[in-house]
């Protein structure tokens, strides 16, 4: 028996928009043996998100008796059409001011705001572990990070990941800011996906606080039974602010040398 398809019927159902680009290829095929098979290919382009599935069947004419024969219908698996993956990055710093040689944490949050999953995401544009450092970069060192130490992670649609770095400002006065970005691969298309490149607010590196204290009695001389006041003047000679929360006074020395005041 020889069957020659003369017609290939397809039906598309679903919510996604699709446009036929080409097909079927080949347009027809002669099946010269009872177990012969032929494959036909269509190419469609998905135009809107959603889902769709194909159903198809073939008709052919028996080469001996010229009767028309219909194949059974077949239904494809369901295809989901997703929006492309999209990376959005934001950056935050733990503190706006640090003292000299103190650490500051920087948080880079990467979110997949698109539809398709994005894989193999790196959080710096150079593939190194460093963030971009602006300002007093020469005196700023990376102490730790990124944490979690998982370059090449995957983000599903709507998922986010926050990575943390710790940097230290070693020179004063200093003003530093940090920048970073993320790049990954769209799981559906294999295309590279780049995030925006946010820059943090500036971090001020200040001189460490230092204390100096002096005591001034008022009055400096008085007669027995009267009241006097000690003024403790505490000065912060550094640049960074401080909180003075414990002061104390004791008598350092005493001598019984005071004589009665002369009578007037």
């Amino acid at each position: 028996m020889q069957s020659v398809p003369s017609n290939l019927l397809t039906n598309i159902s679903g919510t996604a928009g699709v446009v036929q680009i080409s097909g079927p290829a080949p347009a027809s095929a002669a099946l010269v043996t009872p177990t012969a098979m032929a494959s036909f290919t269509w190419v469609y382009q998905a135009t809107t998100v959603g889902w769709f599935k194909f159903s198809a069947w073939a008709t052919g004419q028996d080469s001996l008796n010229y009767n028309w024969i219909n194949s059974a219908g077949v239904v494809s698996n369901v295809v989901t059409v997703q929006a492309p993956g999209q990376l959005t990055a934001s950056m935050a710093v733990q503190r706006l001011t640090v003292s000299e040689n103190q650490d500051v944490e920087i948080h880079l949050t990467v979110t997949n705001t698109g539809g398709a999953a994005i894989q193999n995401i790196w959080t710096t544009d150079t593939g190194t572990l460093e963030l971009g450092v602006n300002g007093s970069a020469a005196s700023t060192i990376r102490v730790a990070g990124p944490f979690p130490a998982a370059p090449g992670f995957t983000l599903a649609s709507g998922a986010s990941n926050t990575l943390t770095w710790t940097y230290r400002g070693t020179a004063i006065p200093g003003v530093i800011s940090f920048s970073g970005m993320a790049v990954g691969t769209d799981q559906n298309t294999g295309q590279a996906v780049f995030s925006n490149a946010p820059t943090s607010v500036s971090v001020s590196v200040q001189a460490n606080p230092a204390l100096m204290m002096e005591i001034y009695p008022q009055p400096a001389s008085l007669t027995q039974g009267n009241v006097f006041t000690l003024l403790l003047t505490v000065t912060n000679t550094g640049t960074a602010g401080l909180t003075a929360d414990a002061v104390g006074v004791t008598v350092a020395a005493w001598s019984r040398s005071a004589r009665p005041l002369p009578s007037t």
């Binding site: 204390l211 027995q224 009241v227 006074v249 005071a258």
Partner: protein
Amino acid sequence: MTGPVPAVQAIPGGQARIFTYTYSATSTGVFNFTGGVYGYDGNLYPLPVSASNVVAAANQVTVYQNSPNLLSPWPRRSAAPWASCAPSS
């Protein structure tokens, strides 16, 4: 008697703040006072910093004995006895 007032103060960089103690002088003498202050870095709490004063004449208090009340052992007279000895004019 009282103090320190206030108990806690924030001190911005380059600035000074005053803590006050009030004492009552109950005995005489010359007193030198020493004090200490502890603080915490406002950028990285609780990184401690501290200082104490240098004992010097500037923080010295002298407490004198009250002036004595002088009382005469003789009775008071209406007229000074030496008035009559005054030379006549």
